[in-house]
Symmetry: C2
Subunit: 111 residues, 2 copies
DNA sequence: CAAATAGTTAACCATAAGGTTAACTATTAA
DNA sequence: TTAATAGTTAACCTTATGGTTAACTATTTG
């Protein structure tokens, strides 16, 4: 066996793979927002936004709470942390590889 | 406008959304491997693995170099770093939210 | 209570994703 | 120089994804 496949990570990375959904998260980073407010900057239909919010919620990246006839969305930390933790395993690659790239570039410019 | 949509990030997160591809990266984390070696632990067909490798390569997550009739795959740092940098913007969420979750749990257990 | 507002669900469509087997290219070995 | 090995490409199938419009539920507000 090679890896313990995590359905949750599938959902989180899958959710992050769409630019509209990343833009929604970026909006919510500045605070809770109603579904209408979330949808406002986009040209896509409201049902499409609802679908995106469902994908984000299924991945655990956001939560929704009802308040009267509105629903407010907020970013949820844990799912993001799980994804970040997974990537953390590869940090040494960008430390090591990008360091040696820098070295290489330095050698080229100051011989 | 809400965000600068990055096709590259679409590809990177899309690539990471599949457990087979994450497992391939996990394998390659311990060093360069031939396509055959990469495929060995999986039950899926070789053409399917080739497709996964193409997805990873298109996302910039790996590169392949030919050596005789073999091809060796290695992890590429930059794409991973780009994804990690994107997530970095949300670090405060898991610092803040998970801290207050901890506080809450502490309050519950020791009053 | 009727009408407007906020959001979701249903039904549908086009395309992308992940898998298969069979056929192909290119190197190495007998 | 034929045969085996390493990997990719082609053709095909099934299901998932992202979008639409129309219809629905549930809360305000006039």
């Amino acid at each position: 066996m090679v890896n313990s496949p995590s359905i949750q990570l599938d959902l989180v990375f899958g959710a992050l793979a769409d630019p509209t959904r990343r833009a929604i998260l970026a909006q919510l980073a500045s605070g809770e927002r109603s579904v209408g407010d979330v949808a406002r900057p986009f040209t896509t239909s409201l049902p499409a936004i609802t679908k995106h919010l469902n994908v984000l919620e299924d991945a655990g990246l956001i939560s929704r709470r009802a308040s009267g006839r509105q629903k407010f969305c907020r970013v949820e930390a844990k799912a993001l942390k799980d994804a970040s933790d997974w990537m953390e395993r590869y940090r040494r690659f960008w430390n090591d590889q990008l360091d040696s790239l820098e070295e290489l570039l330095a050698q080229e410019t100051e011989p």
